[in-house]
Structure formats: C-alpha cells, structure tokens
Amino acid sequence: MIRSLRWKGAAFTAPFQLGFVFVYLLPIGYAVYQSLFVERRSGLGLGGGSTTEFVGLDNYERGLTDPVFLGAIGRVFLFACVQIPLMLGVALLVALLLDALTSRLTSAFRIGLLVPYMIPGVVATIVWVNVYSPDVGPLTDLGRLFGWSWNFFAPEMVWPSIGNLLTWHGIGYNMLIIYAALQAVPREMFDAARVDGASELRIALSIKVPYVRGALVLTGMLSIIHMLQIFNEPQLFRSVTPQTVDANFTPIMIIFNQAFASGNYNYAAALSVLLALFLGVASFLFYRLTTREAD
C-alpha cells in the first residue's frame, strides 16, 4: 500500500526527472565522453576522412596549459572581482533606500528599476553599443559639450563599458531579491532600535544588512556564475570593435570558437568541463567564505 503510494508520488516528479535527465545529465555525460577523444586526420589531412582516437585526459592537459584559455579565465575572474561587489553594492543601497521609504512611490521605483531586466540581454547590449558608439552615440556629443573625448571601445574602456551595461541590466533583479529579504525583517526590531536611540543609518548597517546576508550570498553566487560565463556582451562588442575584443576574449568565446570555427568539438568539450569545474570550485569557495561565520 505504502509502496504503491510512494511510486504514485514519485510519478508526479516524472516530468522534472525526464527534463533533468535529457537536458542536464545526458548532455553533460556526452560532453565528458567527447572530451576524452580527439579526431585525427592523417597524411596531408586532405583525404577527408578522420579517425576518432581515445586520448584519456590529453585534452584536459592541453586546456590546463593553454595560456589563451587560462588568460581568458583570469580576465573574467578579475572582471568579476570588480563588477560583482559594485553591482551588488548598488543593488543593496537601492533596496535599503526603497525599504526606508513608505510612500506609494516605492512600487513605481521598483518597477522602473526592474525594466532593464525585462529586456533580453542581447537587446540590452545592442542598445548600449549604440549609445556608446563614437559615431552615432549621444555620449560622444555629451562628452564634447564638456570638452572630453572618450572612446568607450578603447582597450582600457571595454570592461568598464561592459560593466556599466551589466550593472544597468542587473540592478533590478538583485535589488528585488534583497528587497524581498528586507521585507522579512521583523519590524518590531526597528522600533526597539529606535527606542534605544539608533539612527536610520545605524539600523540599516546593524540590523538590515546582517539580515539580508543570505540574499547577498545568493545573488553573489548567481553573479559569479553569470560573470565567468559571460559571452553575449563581449561577442556583440566584438562585432563593433574587433580590434580590442579579440576572438578569445572570454572562456565561453574560446569554447565557441574551438567548436564552431575550428571544428575541434572534442577540445571544446574538454574546455567546457574545465570551465564548469572551475565555476564549481569558485562558487564553493565563495559559499564557504561567506557563510563560515554563521556556523
């Protein structure tokens, strides 16, 4: 009786399980499998045929010693170290401000800040690429008004330009998660603090921020995953400024190139697995570092 009930219960999860197996497990398994082989031609390589050879972990060794791949990982990692604290800091600040306000205006602000997030990332990038454009963008004229000449596509400006776009795009979403966590803080604690003579700033720093720590860890983790996998934005930047954003600018761009420009599907698979491992380690370390005190 109980046994059959269990099966019935489990059956309800079947759609999820099927999706999980087909959309996650099988492709990952296939990528790992692919990464253990190389395709070899022979002679002049003009015969058209190729043989698939098992090479064990050779592709991984190649990836771990590939200065281009490691360089790209370093590049996005550095970017993430600057971008994530900045974006989450702004999101936290906005959430705190919204929380401090009680007027009906807050919901209008909330929606307003969320609008960029509703725009698909690719579309948002195209919008910003045009805003940045030295030719047609309004910022060039604006700069001229103040006597500045700036180029948002210059080598030293590419990451700030991308960072600004990501911040604009990501604030609303992160703010919403943090704001929701703020709503859950027991209001009577604020009254108690006020009775004790705490200022609003003190309340924010000593009560609200510690309370939303969990939300910050969550948004931080999601941002790390997003930043290290960055692809759309640099790829579209590349289409307007190929001299500064090269074809191997970020790890995913390298993987994309290996698979679809060079035809090295096996190596691309190995790099994908390596990137996933790297992401896993980074997320794990981040989680451990940010939650240790709470234990």
Partner: protein
C-alpha cells in the same frame, strides 16, 4: 585587400548567438526528387543578386531546381555550415572563398566533381579555376576571379606633387610625406591580417607547401620577412589609420574625407565606396598593384571574397546536378552579367576567360571620373599577374582566426610583424600536429 568584415554585423553576431540554422535562413538538406520530377539542389550563399540568379536558373531548367537559402555573411555561414554538416543536414552547394577550400576538404565536407567540371576548364581564367581545386581535384566551380590593384586619391597625390605609387618603396615614401600633414597612406583594420597574407604571397612566400605526404610550414622565409619589413615600416612610421571594418560607415567616411588615401583592393570594394562617398567621387584613380623594387608585377591569389567559389558538399545526393547548376551560374552570359554588376549582383569580376568584357559593370565612372578609361585596362591587366603557386593549408580557417588576434596587436604596436610570424609558425605546426596531420619544418 583588407575588408573581411563589410558591415556592422549585428545580424551575423545574433545568428552566431542563436546557434541554429533555422534562425538564420538555413534549412538545408536535399529535398529529394521523385523519379520523374526535377532534382532539387539546395544552395547556401550570401551574395547580393543570388535570388535573381536562382530564379533565372529555375526558369530556364526543367530537370534541376535550386532551392536557395540566404545567409547573413561569410563568417556566420561558415559556422552554420559546420553545424549543418555535423548534423548531416548540409546543403548540396554553397558559396565560399577559395582560401577555405582545403579546410573544408580536410573536414570531409567536399565532393570530388572533377569529372563534371574539368571538361569546362578552358572556359575559366586559370587562376580562378585553380581556386576551386586542391592538388588537381575540383570540388566546385569558380564564381569570380581576383583582379587586384591600388586605388588612390589622384587629387591628393597631385597636391603633394607625388607620383602614383609603382612600388612598395614608393608607397612608403609617399606615406612619409603625407604623414607630416596627418594623412594616412593606408588603413590597417585590426581584425583583418589579409594585408600580410597578400604581401607575403607577392614576395614569394609559401606558408604551406606539400612535400610528399607532409606539409612544410614556413612563415619565416625571405618572402615573408620582406613583407613583414614593409608593413613594419608603415606601422612604425605611423602612416596608417587603423579603423575597423566593423564600423563600416566610419571607414568609408575616412576615405571620403581624405583621412586615408590609398587602398589595395579588388573590384567589389568599389561598390561600397560609390554608395557611401559624397565628397570625393571622381577624385579616385587606379594604379597597378605595387611591385617589389626590381621585380616583375605579381598580384595575390584570390583571398578575402575575391576568388569566389561555389562548392559541392559530400552530403549532396546529386553532385552531378549540383555541378551543372554551379557551372551555369558561373558561365551563362546572362548569369555572369547579372552577378558582375554591383547593382544587380555583387560586383565581383567574373571567373570566365572573357571577364574583360564585364569590366565596365564592375568599376564605376562616378568614382573614377576622368581616370575611368585608364582604370579599365589596369583591372584587366592585373588578371594576368595573379599568383598561382600559393597553397592554403588544411587548417586555414582556424589559422586565419588565430592570426587575426595577433594582427590586432601588431597594429597597436604591442608586437612586431616578425613576432607574429614566429608565433604563427609555432601555432600552425602545433595545430596541424594535434589534428594528426604530417608536418615537416625547413
């Protein structure tokens, strides 16, 4: 002929992001034919004029139907093709550039159509015919030849008392004079190393050579080093602009307003100039491709969209019909005329032996003004000096992508041309070896 990227290719990048054929005008495979109906040949391309060309073919043929799918540009279609081929869904026939034929062949994507194409060999300019072959085997039909020459601002040269540049040394000398007034002699786009490739070809370099059962890779032979020296002198002298072709409007405006006053081009680039210029129409003139001092004229083999080919894939069920369709598109007089015009076609110089008859269509009187008549002959003459002993390697697709990244650092002065060549020498040998291809060096 630096021009790989012609437009701010958002559409292309978007398609690349979408990663599917269907999202970008794909839909391939052979629709198949019933025993008595016409055979359907699927055809992928991106050239202006293909739709009209295919309509004309279908109207005049009962036994073969071409089913056309238009891609956004060369780079995007390359990725779609690789994917379609992996999925067993490649088209029968596709447009491409002769420099990538060995790469496609190495990936097993091409069908041997020598028996259908070879009988028509004498209808084509020899260098164009060779563009669709590897080691004597034909894999498709040439669509365009590769005339190459210099276009320059005659008025600016006159103003400074300069002669039209005959040699590369002349170019550098003129560049030095003009640089004093902030005028650039040439434009090097950071994403496009074709300048280096074409000059190496001219200087007698052979980056890829077949020796028995192995490739001999040599990017550091005297020819390559000579090309490197000329480019380095221009870069070090600050005589070049470095505008990317991704910002197409800005590049054209720079030429139009006299920021940069010479280009090494083929015919098709002129249509973009005519369409975008306002100030300098009529002020341009052609000169033969610069020679190396003391050497006979020699122009590069087809690269960078000149030297076009239509290739038959190994997944094509009807290679004979595909070859027939391709032959018609390249040789039928009406078809050739349609494609040669920059208005109805893509303005590329045809591949047929009487290509000279179409030179009027491919160059523009608006652009060249009173220099038009002299220009006609320069275009025709340049066809006789095309390099025929250059071979592209089986990893050229990957190699040229890698080289583009290094070229950007040459333009920004972060490394020298020779350093780039040294790096690419090592990279190419390693890449070929990792593909299991035999390599010998020196």
């Amino acid at each position: 002929m630096p021009n790989r990227f012609r437009r701010p290719a958002f559409a292309g990048a978007l398609c690349a992001l979408a990663l599917t054929n269907s999202a970008c005008g794909g839909g391939g495979g052979d629709a198949g034919a019933s025993s008595d109906g016409p055979v359907t040949v699927s055809f992928w391309g991106w050239a202006n004029g293909h739709e009209a060309l295919v309509d004309a073919f279908n109207a005049s043929h009962d036994d073969i139907r071409i089913e056309y799918a238009k891609g956004t540009d060369a780079t995007t279609m390359m990725q779609q093709l690789t994917n379609a081929f992996e999925a067993g869904d490649a088209p029968c026939l596709f447009q491409n550039s002769s420099e990538f034929v060995p790469s496609f062949l190495s990936d097993g994507m091409l069908a041997d159509v020598t028996e259908y194409v070879e009988p028509h060999r004498d209808e084509f300019i020899e260098s164009a015919y060779l563009g669709a072959t590897v080691q004597g085997t034909a894999y498709g039909v040439p669509t365009s030849s590769a005339p190459a020459f210099t276009i320059y601002r005659a008025d600016v040269f006159e103003e400074y008392g300069l002669q039209p540049p005959e040699t590369w040394d002349d170019m550098i000398e003129a560049g030095r004079v003009l640089a004093e007034d902030g005028i650039n002699i040439t434009n090097y786009a950071g994403e496009d190393p074709s300048t280096l490739v074409t000059m190496a070809m001219q200087a007698g370099a052979h980056w890829y050579q077949i020796e028995g059962d192995a490739w001999k890779i040599d990017l550091l032979d005297p020819g390559s080093l000579r090309a490197a020296e000329i480019i380095q002198e221009i870069v070090d002298g600050g005589m070049h602009s470095s505008l990317t072709f991704a910002d197409y409007a800005a590049v054209q405006r720079n030429y139009d307003q006299g920021g940069t006053v010479t280009r090494q081009i083929s015919t098709w680039q002129m249509s973009g100039m005519v369409q975008n210029f306002t100030d300098s129409l009529g002020a341009w003139a052609l000169a033969p491709w610069p020679t190396l001092a003391g050497e006979a004229p020699r122009t590069p083999a087809g690269t960078n969209n000149s030297g076009g080919v239509n290739l038959v894939t190994s997944q094509c069920e009807y290679p004979e019909q595909a070859a027939e369709a391709a032959l018609w598109m390249s040789t039928d007089p009406e078809a050739v005329e349609l494609m040669a015009s920059p208005d109805t076609g893509n303005g590329l110089m045809p591949a047929v032996t009487n290509a000279g008859d179409y030179v009027d269509q491919t160059i523009s009187e608006d652009l060249l003004g009173e220099n038009y008549d002299a220009a006609r002959q320069i275009v025709i003459d340049s066809l006789d000096t095309v390099t025929t002993d250059w071979t592209f390697g089986p990893n050229w697709t990957a190699m040229s992508t890698e080289m583009a990244d290094g070229w950007a650092r040459v333009i920004t002065g972060e490394q020298t041309v020779v350093q780039l060549l040294e790096y690419m020498q090592e990279w190419t040998v390693n890449d070929l070896t990792s593909r299991g291809i035999n390599v010998v060096t020196s």
